[in-house]
Structures are given as structure tokens and as C-alpha cells.
């Protein structure tokens, strides 16, 4: 069988061996309800608190500031809607965000607009970055919340979070960041970066799908997301997903170890891919080179449509993704690629390769062997390629 080259780590990651081993006992052996009084209940309670501490350490937060949720989307919804509703009593009804947020944030903001909130969507430059100055200039006396993603899921650009946090702190505005793509891959310090709320998702850092967390700085009070029992300090009721919480804790601890060395190794693979793929005529790297997530490569190839490219890569055993509309079932290509100024037809031809620590030099060799002929083949049958070829 063909070896799978998995180059879609921004979509999800494989559960690592250490995480798998850590979570398994909590399915069949340590199955007690953490709220129970007896020993197997108390033990699971301890396991949850241990995971909370592990995750807090990764972010330089206090364990009491971590709330477990079901996913990054839930964390975003809770943080943004919760704080928006809370700030209304203080006469605040304005939210600032960016044009390149994940839909979990964009659609949440749009939903709040329908409720009467006003939202500013800051544009990014052609490299996919915003500045703290832009945030500062957009803050009015009605602004209560700023939400800016830590790193973009499509083009990998890392925003100046510490600077934006400082601007928000000085203005007395609460700052939330969707850090789903960054946690476990970039060093994050919620205190130094003045982050009030941070969303994260387990399955982007080798924990399973279905577990996330929200960091809430002490002093930020949100209405409960789920009413019910006393779990998660009464703010997010429901029996805890013990095994997955333990998994997220382990994944956080693993991610904190040798992060710098891992980042460098993955970034070296990324840089080789970027250098080589740039040599394809009319290839365009989407997103600035730095700061950029260590595993993110995103190119547009003129005259090539993304879904066809992905299907051909799939036939060669390569798992990748695209900002093409055809892969999402919607009419428009990625809002992120449009926000950095790509014309529609170029945005349709994007290829996102996201590398992880399990990728090797040989994987990069394979990618560089299979991608150029596929581009050539699709261009040969493309009526739009002619106009670029002649340029």
C-alpha cells in the first residue's frame, strides 16, 4: 500500500502514543463520575485537576483560569457571546475583530450583529497581518471587546498578539484570542501578552477531537455557557469528558517539552517546501514569511483549481487542503484569501500543506516530486492557464 503523506495538520492531528496511553485508563478502569464521593470518583477528579494544571502551565495561566469545553468553536462562542452580553450592562456594544478570523468567530460576530451589536472587521494587509495601531484606532468609548486570532488557520500568519493585548489593556477593553492553531505550536504567555480570554482545541495538538478549553483571566466573569451542575465551577455544567480532558492535559505537557527544537525542525521542512514550490511558474505564496506558523505552507497556482489538485494529490497518497470554494460547498473561495487581495480565480487554486512533527524530509521529497507534475497536468487542460503562460 502507498504510504500516506499527511500534510493537513491544521485540520486535525493524530492522537499521539503518549496521549493515547494517558487517556485509555479513564474509559474502562477509572470510569467514576468526578463529582462522586467514592474513590474511583475522587481519582478522576484528581486527574481532571492535574490536566487543568498541565494546560495552565503551557499558557502561563493559573489552573483556576482554565475551563474545559467540547471544542474550539464552543470556546469562541462562549467567550465572545458571553462577554458581549455581559458588557452590555456597562453601555458597551462594539466589538473589533479581523476579516480573516475562523468562521467560529466570524459567524459568532455576525450573530451578535443581528442582536444589535456593531462589529468592526479590520482588514489585513496583502501578507495577512494586522497591526496593534489598527486596533487602537478602531477602539471607541463603546468598544468592550476585541477578538483577534493568534495565528491564521489557512495562511499561517501570526498576529502581534502581545502588542494588541497591551493596546486593549491600556484602553480598558477585554481581549480575546482564538489560539486554536497556535496552542502547542507557538510559545504563549497569557500574562505577558495581556490576553483576557483564549480559545483552544485539543485535536490540533495530538489530543482527540471533541475536547477544547477556554482560558478566562481571573476577574473576567462570563454568564454560564451550560446551566446545570457544579462542574467547571458552575460555568459549564455537564459531566466532564474525563478521558479527553486527561488527553488534552497530556498533549499540553508534551507540547511544552522541546517546543523550540520541534518548531525549528518543522520550520526547516516548511522552508524547503516554500523555496522549491516557489520555483513553479506563476506560483504565489499566500501569507507573509514571518512570523508564520512553523508548519504552514499555502500557495496559489494560476490556472489550477484547488479541488482537482487535492483529488490528484489524494490519488498519490497525499492529504492536503485548499481554499477553493469547491471543497467547501460554498460559492466563494476562502474569505481569508480574498481578504489578502487575491482575485477569485487565483484564490480557487490554492493549496494548503500543513506539516507536523511526524513529517520527515522524505515526505517533503515526495511532495516535491508529485506536486509539480500535477500542476503541469491540470494547467495543460485549463483554459485559464493560457493567459498566464503568455505573460
Amino acid at each position: 500500500m502507498q504510504k500516506l503523506i499527511y500534510a493537513d495538520h491544521a485540520a486535525t492531528t493524530r492522537v499521539s502514543d503518549s496521549v493515547f496511553a494517558a487517556m485509555l485508563p479513564y474509559l474502562q478502569e477509572q470510569y467514576g463520575n468526578p463529582s462522586a464521593t467514592y474513590a474511583i470518583g475522587r481519582e478522576t477528579k484528581h486527574a481532571i485537576e492535574n490536566a487543568r494544571a498541565q494546560l495552565a502551565r503551557l499558557l502561563n495561566a493559573a489552573p483556576q483560569e482554565i475551563y474545559f469545553t467540547s471544542c474550539g468553536t464552543e470556546s469562541d462562542n462562549w467567550a465572545i457571546k458571553g462577554y458581549a452580553h455581559a458588557m452590555k450592562s456597562k453601555g458597551k456594544d462594539h466589538i473589533i475583530t479581523t476579516a480573516i478570523e475562523h468562521h467560529a468567530v466570524l459567524h459568532t460576530c455576525q450573530s451578535l450583529e443581528k442582536e444589535g451589536f456593531s462589529v468592526t472587521y479590520l482588514p489585513v494587509n496583502s501578507e495577512g497581518y494586522i497591526t496593534a495601531e489598527q486596533v487602537k484606532d478602531a477602539i471607541t468609548d463603546r468598544t468592550g471587546l476585541v477578538t483577534v486570532m493568534y495565528a491564521n488557520n489557512e495562511i499561517g500568519t501570526i498576529q502581534p498578539i502581545g502588542e494588541i493585548g497591551a493596546v486593549c489593556k491600556a484602553a480598558g477593553v477585554v481581549f480575546h484570542t482564538d489560539a486554536v492553531q497556535a496552542v502547542g505550536h507557538e510559545p504563549i504567555d497569557v500574562k505577558a501578552e495581556h490576553i483576557d480570554m483564549l480559545s483552544l482545541s485539543g485535536h490540533k495538538l495530538s489530543a482527540p477531537k471533541g475536547i477544547g478549553a477556554l482560558y478566562l483571566r481571573r476577574g473576567i466573569v462570563l454568564p454560564p455557557y451550560l446551566d446545570g451542575g457544579a462542574q467547571e465551577r458552575g460555568r459549564r455544567a455537564g459531566t466532564e469528558n474525563t478521558a479527553f480532558i486527561v488527553a488534552l492535559g497530556q498533549a499540553a505537557e508534551d507540547a511544552g517539552k522541546d517546543m523550540e527544537a520541534r518548531q525549528k525542525r518543522v520550520a526547516d521542512l516548511r522552508d524547503r517546501l516554500i523555496e522549491e514550490l516557489s520555483k513553479i511558474p506563476h506560483a504565489h505564496l499566500n501569507g507573509g514569511r514571518s512570523p508564520r506558523l512553523s508548519g504552514n505552507v499555502n500557495f496559489s497556482f494560476a490556472g489550477v483549481e484547488g479541488e482537482s489538485l487535492l483529488l490528484m494529490l489524494d490519488m498519490q497518497g497525499v492529504a492536503a487542503s485548499s481554499g477553493s470554494a469547491c471543497t467547501s460547498g460554498s460559492l466563494d473561495p476562502s474569505h481569508v484569501l480574498l481578504a489578502i487581495g487575491l482575485p477569485h480565480e487565483i484564490a480557487h487554486g490554492s493549496l494548503r500543506l500543513t506539516l507536523g512533527e511526524d513529517n520527515t524530509d522524505e515526505d517533503v521529497d515526495t511532495l516535491l516530486r508529485v506536486i509539480p507534475p500535477i500542476i503541469e497536468r491540470l494547467r495543460a487542460m485549463s483554459p485559464t492557464w493560457e493567459k498566464y503562460r503568455e505573460e
Binding site: E305, A325, T327, M381, P383
Partner: protein, 143 residues
């Protein structure tokens, strides 16, 4: 995207790809904005489609429907080619996912656009024969 084996087979090995040097009818439909462009080349002699080829920018379904449409009309009289419906293309491919049905519409329109062009080159108004053409076929019309 969950494509039928037939779609994948036509996508992986598209029939009649490329330009036709001696084409006497060429039609292009779709637009780059919505992500699909199909160009059909026809060589028509004595009312028969002697040869046909295509060039397509688009998704897997766009390439497969183009390929299938060329197979279905090759060697056929113009009248038969004009009767080619998107439904026939979909059926010949053992179905398409619902969001991809517009690709089969595009294939039907590409054939009609190429036949219209053939008639125009012959100095014949194609409208009474082929019908109204979707000249500025925008995304809304295709999807």
C-alpha cells in the same frame, strides 16, 4: 467529496482533453469567479460531430462531466448533441453529489455554446436552433 468510481475514473483519465486545431465550433461557459470554466471544441462535418475536445478549469466533477459530455456527443449528429441534457451526463457518471450538479449543467451549456458558434461561423443565426444562450452565465445561474 464523495464521487462515484465512474466520476473518479473520468477525472483521472479524462477523454478528449486539449485543443482541436481544426475545430469549427468553439464554446466557453462558466467564469473564473465561481471556479469553473469549460471550453468545448467541435469539428463538425456534414452535420456530424466528427471530433470533439475540451479544456476545463474546475473541480473534479467539472473535469469528469466535460469528459463524459465529449464521449456522449462524439460521432453523433448535431441534433442528437443538442438533445444532450445535464441529467444524461449525471446518469452516465452514476450520479454526482448535489452540490456538483451545476457542473453537469455547465457541460450541457458548453456543448450548446460550441454548436452555436459553429452555426454563427456558417452565417446561420443559432438562436432558433439552439435556443437562448446563457451569455453571462454568472455563479447564480450555474449553481
Amino acid at each position: 467529496m464523495d464521487y462515484s468510481p465512474k466520476v473518479m475514473e473520468h477525472f483521472a483519465n479524462p477523454r478528449n482533453v486539449g485543443e482541436l486545431a481544426d475545430a469549427n465550433g468553439i464554446g466557453e461557459v462558466g467564469n473564473a469567479k465561481c471556479g469553473d470554466i469549460m471550453r468545448m471544441y467541435l469539428k463538425i462535418e456534414n452535420g456530424i460531430i466528427e471530433d470533439v475536445s475540451f479544456k476545463t478549469f474546475g473541480c473534479g466533477a467539472a473535469i469528469a462531466t466535460s469528459s463524459m459530455a465529449t464521449e456522449l456527443i462524439k460521432g453523433k449528429p448535431i441534433e442528437d448533441a443538442l438533445k444532450l441534457t445535464n441529467r444524461a451526463v449525471v446518469e452516465a457518471l452514476d450520479g454526482l453529489p448535489p452540490v456538483k450538479i451545476h457542473c453537469s449543467v455547465l457541460a450541457e451549456q458548453a456543448v450548446k455554446a460550441a454548436i452555436s458558434d459553429y452555426y454563427r461561423r456558417q452565417g446561420i443565426d443559432p438562436t432558433p436552433i439552439v435556443g437562448e444562450q446563457c451569455e453571462n452565465c454568472d455563479c447564480e445561474n450555474c449553481h
